[in-house]
């Protein structure tokens, strides 16, 4: 029996709880585990088949970003303690393999290259750094963001990096030497309050499955930043030309939200969070074609390698899974 991807048929299939708020989650490439980073400085690992929970403790601050090696054997975590840690995630009680003091201030984003040989991080020191996954050596350091970079990704099948910052700039850095290749601006999703604090910017970056589109997500329509009056949004750019596509937002529900993560299904459907809802957009469609409501605000999401099960990390400490389809 097969399951056809159909978000309209979404139903919850698992719900696992941790006692602390969760900021991020990832499913390993083999589909064995889902892991989540928490504000109690831990990473929680759930075995998907059994729901067995294991706690990983080595960070000294909020765990903000996670990534897996392509073989699923190593988990990489980045935290507000300024460090990234490599974990032997398949062992019974995972331990740190490597602890790297990466940035002055928080690590905001972490990415793993297509072949697993490089790790990239960005942090409050406004630096983007690439590291050897093998030994943790710093390979290159990229300076050029005028303010804090929130997120980064490797360009598909490449060591080039794209990083997006808190003031709406996106930079592409050459894999060979770390030089700046080009820059995009997404001022549409950036605001400034009182000449003091930026608000919004590039919260997350994702490439479309065909690699032709780079999608930045975050917030727009900000009317009162300290009160959190804003709307979730995704803004895609043609990767070759930089031409911007229409903004994608949630017109079905008028709610304050930030889109913390966009993931793509292989068929091109964009999946993003809108407060407590999971939203689904057809390519370049302005409004979501479907929303799935959950009990708590979502701060990250990731697709299982089966491309049917979607895991979400929630403010209430739960990791939830929805099966996005019906049996055929």
């Amino acid at each position: 029996m097969t399951t056809k991807f159909d978000p309209r048929a979404a139903k919850p299939i698992s719900d696992w709880e941790h006692h602390s708020k969760l900021l991020c989650c990832r499913v390993d490439p083999t589909g064995t585990y889902v892991v989540a980073g928490a504000i109690d400085y831990t990473i929680q690992r759930w075995e998907i088949a059994t729901g067995k929970k294991t706690s990983l403790a080595a960070h000294d601050n909020w765990v903000r970003t996670l990534g897996f090696s392509p073989d699923g054997n190593t988990l990489y975590s980045g935290a507000y303690d300024g460090r990234w840690i490599a974990w032997d995630i398949t062992s019974e009680t995972p331990q740190p393999i490597r602890v790297i003091q990466a940035h002055a201030g928080w690590v905001r984003g972490l990415a793993v290259s297509y072949d697993g040989k490089q790790i990239a991080t960005c942090g409050n020191d406004k630096r983007v750094k690439a590291w050897s996954a093998n030994d943790g050596q710093l390979l290159r350091e990229m300076v050029g963001h005028s303010n804090i970079p929130y997120c980064l990704q490797f360009v598909p099948n490449n060591y080039d990096l794209v990083s997006g910052d808190i003031v709406g700039n996106i930079h592409q850095w050459r894999g060979e030497d770390g030089t700046l290749v080009r820059s995009f601006t997404a001022s549409e999703i950036f605001f400034h309050i009182g000449d003091i604090a930026p608000f919004g910017g590039i919260i997350h970056l994702s490439f479309s499955p065909d690699g032709k589109k780079l999608t930045a997500c975050g917030l727009h329509k900000c009317s009162n930043a300290p009160a959190g009056n804003r709307r979730a949004v995704a803004l895609s750019m043609d990767w070759t030309t930089g031409e911007k596509r229409p903004k994608q937002e949630c017109l079905k529900k008028d709610i304050d939200a930030t889109m913390w993560r966009v993931a793509y299904h292989p068929d091109g459907t964009m999946i993003g969070n809108v407060a407590k809802d999971i939203g689904f957009w057809n390519p370049d469609a302005e409004d979501a074609f479907h929303l799935v409501e959950t009990p708590s605000d979502i701060f990250d999401l990731d697709l299982h390698p089966n491309q049917i099960d979607l895991y979400t990390a929630h403010f209430d400490g739960h990791v939830r899974c929805h099966r996005l389809g019906s049996s055929a």
């Binding site: 602390s20 708020k21 504000i39 109690d40 400085y41 601050n61 909020w62 507000y80 928080w106 409050n124 309050i193 009182g194 000449d195 003091i196 604090a197 930026p198 608000f199 930043a225 300290p226 009160a227 959190g228 304050d256 708590s296 605000d297 403010f315």
Partner: protein, 434 residues
């Protein structure tokens, strides 16, 4: 007597912005209605001229409610403490948020109060009680701290307003915050920009001699009229004119670009840095009360990200201000209060914000009249409750006044009616006073 955690240190014994003269006069006169029928010759009882001479109070008002967790009372609790760590300060044993590395190095000039508990979580109402030192439940309006200090420290020969709010990017005016003391003690908003105060130079074609003749004529006519009719409004009107003239003569005081470039750089060319630099110039000029606003701390959403930027904007200029006052010998006659209207919730909400929390919060003080390196009070490990030496806005009000030598147990005599300077049911935090 509550226990005080303390490490004792020896205390100190363009013209585009600013106030327009016409606006100054206009708003002053608008405020006159409030004092009709009262005498302007109220006076504080018990004030000591010797201890007050040249004293100043500078309030740095963090409008909206700074988080005590991300400033003066950091916690390590995993659910309430937030992501920022604490750092040591120049006073052994005192730790504050890592967001304040420069201020931490000035802690030996400062004191912290970590046990403030009030009961109003509305901005306007909370703002009113922390400024007035009263919980207003009657028809009586009470003067704010600036008006009381201005009145308490006033000198007959002083050429400037005694109660100044600095501002950047706008013209000013008199606020309505002096209640029964009368509008001459209300705050005047004056900007910190090149050229000092806007609209204070004589118009083209008007000579100094001609201008002087105009004022002589005004004084003559006023005097003749006053010999027949006396009224508070008329006295205030006259005083307002004379003060405006003195302000015109002192316009350069408000021009911070007269400071060396290195000094301006050290304060930082942010709005806050410019205001602090103006405040230092006003302290040098012995202005009794100066308030600086640093607004927008009401972070119901994105609290940690915003504090990262806002506290950084505050920290370096503020620390430099304290250090500069000290180096110039001004801190020993200046009380600096970092004031806000309430704290923020221990609970982190779903937008990673903190909401209003008057139950347990903190402020910082620096300068004269206080025990340097003192920490008053304590909250529990989660920051939910005050566990030691609970105080509120009424204790604080008494303490501020005592620190600059004003007897807060005294009274104002307003046309024969006596008004306690501060809430008589309360007193200062004695262990904090030098």
């Amino acid at each position: 007597m509550a226990k005080m955690t303390m490490n004792r240190y020896k205390p100190c014994g363009t013209i585009d912005h600013g106030i327009g003269r016409r606006q100054f006069m206009g708003e002053f006169l608008m405020g006159m209605g409030a004092i009709a029928g009262t005498s302007l010759f109220s006076h504080p009882i018990g004030a000591s001229e010797v201890t007050q001479r040249g004293k100043s109070v500078v309030v740095v008002y963090l409008n909206g409610g700074i988080s005590q967790f991300e400033s003066w009372d950091p916690k390590t609790d995993l659910e309430t403490g937030g992501p920022f760590k604490s750092i040591p300060t120049s006073v052994p044993g005192i730790h504050i948020s890592e967001l304040l590395p420069y201020t931490a190095q000035q802690m030996h000039h400062m004191a912290l109060i970590r046990s403030i508990s009030t009961d109003l979580d509305d901005h306007g109402l909370a703002n009113n009680i922390v400024r007035s030192g009263r919980t207003t439940r009657s028809a009586t309006e009470y003067p704010e701290l600036g008006a009381v200090v201005s009145k308490g420290l006033e000198r007959a020969d002083f050429p400037l307003p005694g109660h100044i709010t600095t501002m950047v990017g706008g013209s000013g005016g008199r606020a309505n915050n002096a209640a029964y003391l009368g509008p001459q003690y209300a705050s005047v908003a004056i900007g910190a920009e090149k050229g000092g105060i806007v609209n204070t130079q004589l118009p083209d074609g008007m000579t100094v001699t001609a201008d002087s003749r105009r004022h002589d004529w005004r004084r003559f006519v006023n005097g003749r009229h006053r010999s027949k009719v006396q009224s508070a409004e008329m006295d205030a009107y006259t005083q307002c004119y004379e003060q405006a003239l003195r302000l015109m003569e002192k316009r350069e005081l408000f021009d911070i670009t007269r400071e060396a470039e290195s000094v301006q750089e050290a304060y930082g060319k942010t709005e806050f840095g410019k205001q602090l630099l103006l405040a230092r110039r006003l302290v040098e000029a012995e202005v009794p009360f100066i308030e600086i606003q640093h607004g927008g701390w009401d972070f119901h959403h994105n609290n940690f990200e915003f504090h990262l930027h806002y506290v950084a904007d505050f920290d370096r200029p503020f620390a430099h201000f304290i250090g500069d006052l000290h180096q110039r010998g001004l801190l020993e006659r200046t009380l600096v209060i970092v004031m806000t209207e309430f704290g923020r919730t221990p609970k982190i909400n779903a937008g990673y914000g903190r909401d209003h929390y008057p139950k347990a919060w903190s402020i910082a003080l620096a300068g004269c009249g206080i025990q340097h390196g003192a920490v008053i009070g304590k909250t529990d490990p989660k920051g939910i409750e005050v566990t030691d030496r609970k105080v509120d806005h009424r204790h604080l009000f008494h303490t501020y006044l005592r620190a600059v030598g004003i007897d807060s147990s005294g009274e104002f005599d307003i046309a024969g009616r006596r008004f306690p300077i501060a809430d008589p049911a309360f007193g200062p935090i004695k262990e904090l006073l030098a």
